[in-house]
């Protein structure tokens, strides 16, 4: 693996890094590779009961009757609960407030009506799991079917069935973002490129499905909830509201969490109900989601229809961008549902100078599960839109797609760069990452192979995507529930260090990276640093891990807490060594003064802070500090990805033969972990481009509801990724780190589609909607060949058809590349 980027310490105030920048093996791993760690479903409490749900098989129906007698009569069943039974249990929360937003009632169990397949109707609690499942099967529900609407455009038509009658419309909201003179941009344009693109619905599919265990001790008035969550503190607040306990009586623990990808950045019905059941029954209750439930009842991602128009000058200069987005909310709002498409709007300009923009979004209710944050959350959609339209435009202009992009990049000296959507991009060198990606991929050779291949009936394609993403979420003013993060660092009397972080990682490896960071600051070994997270009783209030924020915001909080401790250590050392504070420096294992003539061992100094027999006046004993870090801005990582593919002209199969990613996430704490994030991200983005699709049919039934039908990326489908890095530190935090959790996912989806459409451009194909399964690519080729035969001169019409999926065949069947 080529590796040219050097860790740049610019912007750091600390001494030379010993651990930061090292490929340290993860501290998390020994327990995970030996099967000795505990995910929520691994926990078992004395007298614990098992909960299961009867869920709606109907997408839209009135509930006429629920018969639970047979279920209740089954030996081992403790109780069966329907909506009317849930006295004192509140609604499922939505954190988003915006003018004109329709927020439906979102009860924990379906009340009167079901609105999507998988909506829970009754909960069963039994002595064991098998009995609970048997009992759920015995629950009979009389449904009066109602007309179903799953298609967003139909849902907005006047005669559509309305999902929430009180709103008299399925429109959840409209949101506009406009800046610059869009009218004159389009008037002045030499060329307007239009394309409709569907960003299909996806299932996040963390390998650990959700699980909740709750125990209530009435004497202590203490409710403890273990949940597979990314946001234990926010969940604690919401559970206390839902079940009506003071927040101080609720403890939430996120034990080992098996992936989230945004799907556990939420507050779900079951997270209110299981604690309520434990309180009601006086026994611990556990629910572990099945995969089928996970696909029907855990949030989905994406599901937008996007109409784009790009106004251009002949020479390829962008003049303006108009975007119309329909965003599927599903039947209810989950925690952040209406926010996600607004992130698309914010990032819609990508890494380009666009003088005028005009974006309108409509959120639409349909008879489906809610959408919400899925890896990238609105930004993959933005990047897909802009990166696809850039490619379509390059082809129309006959320009090389890489050169066309470079032409519209802001120059490095223009940073901080204010975008047309009002963001301030912190720092970037877009030119450098694409240059390196072009070199690394052997771009010129790939283009030559492509040209000669086309002559021989071989369809080679090269996909380019350059992205910028919004990370380190974020300044509190821009987030619904606080964008800061907490960090506590405590040097224990023995000299071991405990770090408490409000970010709640679930696979990202912060137990290791934060240990590296703090070890360098204190001059100790990472083995002596233990990072704790995910327990609201142990950790000060925090926000959580999502939006590539854990290191950039949570790591900074821990870093700044450490600076407070270092100041204390210096004061105490100066006192003990008889030196001025300004002469004291913290080295590896020793704190010295007067140019090293006097020093004290780290352990001795720590002990002195605790024994406190000889401390300067006013010195607060102990060594513990907390910092709540409020970031002044987001960070904006960026990069360039290039894919090389071959499309089988007969079968439509796509062979991925090369994938190059050059990413820039600022300074890097552990390169091995950063690469791991990028690998996984690329795979997930490729999954969307090539295979994954959560399909609801017209009756609102999920057609791809098992792992047999929902095509997750498998090992044999993926190529070996070639990674490289540039390092442009951010000025937003003292460590210069930007965040990397979503980069791969954001960049790889358009990169792959660009590659495949590029390969098929000789056939006149300019766009195919995802996923690019062989069948869909084959159909596109058939259609293109047929229209080439029957309509030698088809009229050039922008895609205005109402079809939500399909192919657009352009008039010109030729293209050129520089």
């Amino acid at each position: 693996m080529a590796r040219n980027g050097k860790a740049n310490s610019k912007g750091n105030t600390k001494q030379a890094a010993v651990w930061v920048g090292k490929k340290l093996k993860r501290k998390e791993d020994p327990r995970l590779i030996q099967g000795t760690s505990h995910y929520t479903d691994d926990l078992k409490l004395p007298r614990m009961l098992y909960c299961t749900f009867a869920r709606s098989p109907m997408a839209h129906a009135e509930i006429r009757a629920i018969r639970t007698d047979a279920a209740r009569a089954l030996p081992g069943v403790i109780g069966v609960f329907i909506s009317e039974d849930l006295t004192g249990l509140g609604m499922v929360p939505c954190a988003i407030q915006m003018p004109g937003l329709n927020v439906p009632h979102h009860p924990v169990l379906a009340t009167g009506r079901v609105r999507y397949v998988g909506e829970p109707v009754a909960a069963v609690v039994a002595e064991d799991l098998y009995t609970a499942r048997d009992a759920a099967e015995l629950i009979e529900v009389d449904y009066e079917p109602l007309p179903v609407v799953v298609n967003m455009e139909k849902a907005l038509e006047k005669d559509s069935p309305v999902i929430h009658e009180q709103f008299r419309t399925n429109r959840a909201f409209t949101h506009a973002l406009k800046n610059g003179d869009i009218q004159s941009a389009f008037k002045k344009a030499d060329r307007v490129v239009r394309q409709r693109m569907v960003n299909q619905r996806l299932a996040p599919m963390a390998m650990e499905a959700r699980a909740v265990l709750a125990e209530y001790l009435p004497g202590e008035n203490r409710l403890t909830v273990w949940s597979a969550t990314q946001i234990p503190h926010l969940l604690r607040t919401q559970i206390s509201v839902m079940v009506g306990l003071p927040e101080t009586a609720v403890r939430v623990i996120a034990p080992e969490v098996g992936g989230g990808f945004g799907s556990k950045l939420n507050v779900y019905r079951e997270e209110g109900l299981v604690p309520w059941l434990a309180m009601k029954l006086g026994r611990p209750v556990k629910w572990a989601e099945t995969r089928r439930e996970n696909i029907t009842s855990t949030i989905h991602g994406r599901d937008t229809i996007n109409d784009l128009e790009l106004a251009l000058k002949k020479d390829g200069t962008i003049l303006g961008l108009r975007v119309r987005i329909l965003a599927d909310m599903g039947a209810y709002h989950q925690l952040l549902t209406p926010l996600i498409p607004q992130l698309t709007a914010l990032m819609q300009a990508g890494c380009y100078k666009i003088p005028a923009i005009d974006i309108e979004i409509q959120g639409v209710f349909t008879n489906k599960m809610s959408t919400d944050a899925y890896r990238g959350a609105g930004r993959p959609e933005a990047t897909y839109n802009i990166e696809r339209i850039m490619d379509v435009a390059a082809h129309e202009l006959g320009m090389d797609p890489a050169q066309f992009r470079v032409k519209n990049f802001p120059q490095p000296k223009e940073f901080p760069f204010t975008t047309v959507t009002g963001l301030v991009y912190d720092s970037a060198k877009y030119q450098e990452s694409i240059k390196r990606a072009l070199q690394l991929s052997g771009y010129e050779t790939l283009r030559r192979r492509q040209k000669s291949g086309w002559k021989n009936g071989k369809y080679y394609g090269v996909g380019v995507s350059t992205y910028v993403e919004i990370c380190a979420i974020g300044p509190s003013a821009a987030t619904p529930a606080g964008g800061w993060e907490s960090g506590t660092v405590r040097i224990e009397p023995t000299g071991k260090v405990t770090v408490l972080t409000g970010a709640s990682p679930h696979g990202q490896g912060e137990e290791t990276t934060f240990a590296q960071l703090i070890a360098d600051e204190l001059g100790i070994d990472p083995d002596d640093v233990t990072v704790l997270h995910g327990d609201t009783l142990a950790v000060p209030y925090g926000i959580g891990t999502f939006g590539s924020r854990a290191t950039a915001v949570g790591g900074t909080a821990a870093y700044l807490a450490t600076q407070k401790l270092k100041a204390k250590m210096v004061t105490l050392a100066a006192h003990l060594l008889g030196a001025k504070s300004s002469d004291v420096s913290i080295g590896r294992g020793r704190i010295s003064a007067k140019g090293g003539k006097k020093s004290i061992a780290f352990g001795e100094l720590v002990m002195a802070a605790y024994t406190a027999r000889n401390i300067p006046p006013g010195f607060e004993p102990g060594l513990e500090a907390t910092h709540f870090f409020e970031p002044p801005n987001f960070t904006f990582p960026f990069g360039a990805h290039i894919a090389s593919v071959e499309v089988d002209g007969e079968t439509g199969e796509v062979k991925i033969d090369k994938y190059v990613a050059v990413d820039d996430c600022g300074n890097v704490i552990n390169p091995m972990l950063v690469d791991g994030q990028i690998h996984g991200g690329i795979a997930q983005g490729m999954g969307q481009a090539m295979w994954e699709e959560l399909i609801y049919n017209d009756e609102g039934q999920i057609v791809t509801g098992t792992l047999l039908d929902y095509a997750l990326p498998k090992a044999h489908l993926l190529p070996e990724f070639t990674l490289d890095r540039t390092v442009t530190p951010t000025p937003v935090n003292p460590m210069g780190v930007k965040g990397v959790g979503e980069a791969g996912t954001i960049a790889s989806t358009p990169c792959m589609v660009n590659a495949v459409c590029d390969a098929l451009s000789p056939l006149g194909i300019r766009h195919i909607d995802m996923p690019l399964k062989p069948e869909r690519v084959w159909s596109a080729m058939q259609q293109a060949r047929a229209s080439a035969q029957t309509e030698p001169q088809p009229t050039h019409k922008p895609v205005s058809s109402r079809a939500t999926q399909g192919t657009y065949v352009s008039r010109k069947a030729s293209r050129s590349n520089a």
Binding site: D29, I33, A206, M207, G258, T290, R291, G676, L712, A715
Partner: protein, 165 residues
């Protein structure tokens, strides 16, 4: 109706009456208390529950406990010898072959089967061998590297043993 079964798990006999429909994975987790084997789908499609049954990798969510009666099961908890990690565990640790860790026990057991039958697989062969196991975090690249790492280590140990003889 219950049936007594005896299943040898990681060298230890577990005798217990079970319902005939009890899945092996539930026997491991609920009866034997070995929760290192995870349940990812219950339909044999994700591989998180992979264990060795008489040395061969099986998905324990689609094996009944009664089918394992009188047989030997190795789970992730049985891979290490005391404090000494198995070469595969070392490989996954050194190559960053895991992130959230949920699929890892299944990946380890599946790779164990591969290396037992094919000690020096190519990358493509590893990818083919683990394609019944889903990982959502790693993009598989470091899992492939981890299995290769283990394969190299195991080959070295075999030749060291041969040299010692």
């Amino acid at each position: 109706m219950q049936k007594n079964v005896t299943i040898n798990i990681n060298g230890e006999a577990h005798r217990h009456p079970v319902e005939p429909r009890l899945l092996l994975v539930h026997f491991l987790r609920e009866v034997a208390g070995l929760t290192g084997t995870h349940i990812g789908c219950e339909t044999s499609l994700c591989g998180a529950c992979t264990v060795l049954l008489d040395g061969r990798a099986v998905k324990s969510c689609t094996v009944l406990a009664v089918q394992a009666d009188g047989r030997s099961v190795t789970t992730v908890e049985g891979l290490a010898q005391g404090n000494k990690l198995h070469a595969l565990q070392e490989g996954f640790w050194e190559e960053h072959g895991l992130q959230c860790g949920f699929c890892t026990p299944g990946m380890l057991m599946c790779s164990h089967d591969l290396l037992a039958n094919h000690p020096t697989p190519t990358s493509a062969e590893i990818r083919e061998a683990i394609n019944g196991n889903v990982c959502r975090c790693t993009g598989y690249q470091n899992i492939v590297n981890a299995v290769k790492n283990a394969s190299r280590k195991m080959a070295k140990r075999v030749s060291a043993r041969a040299g010692a003889r």
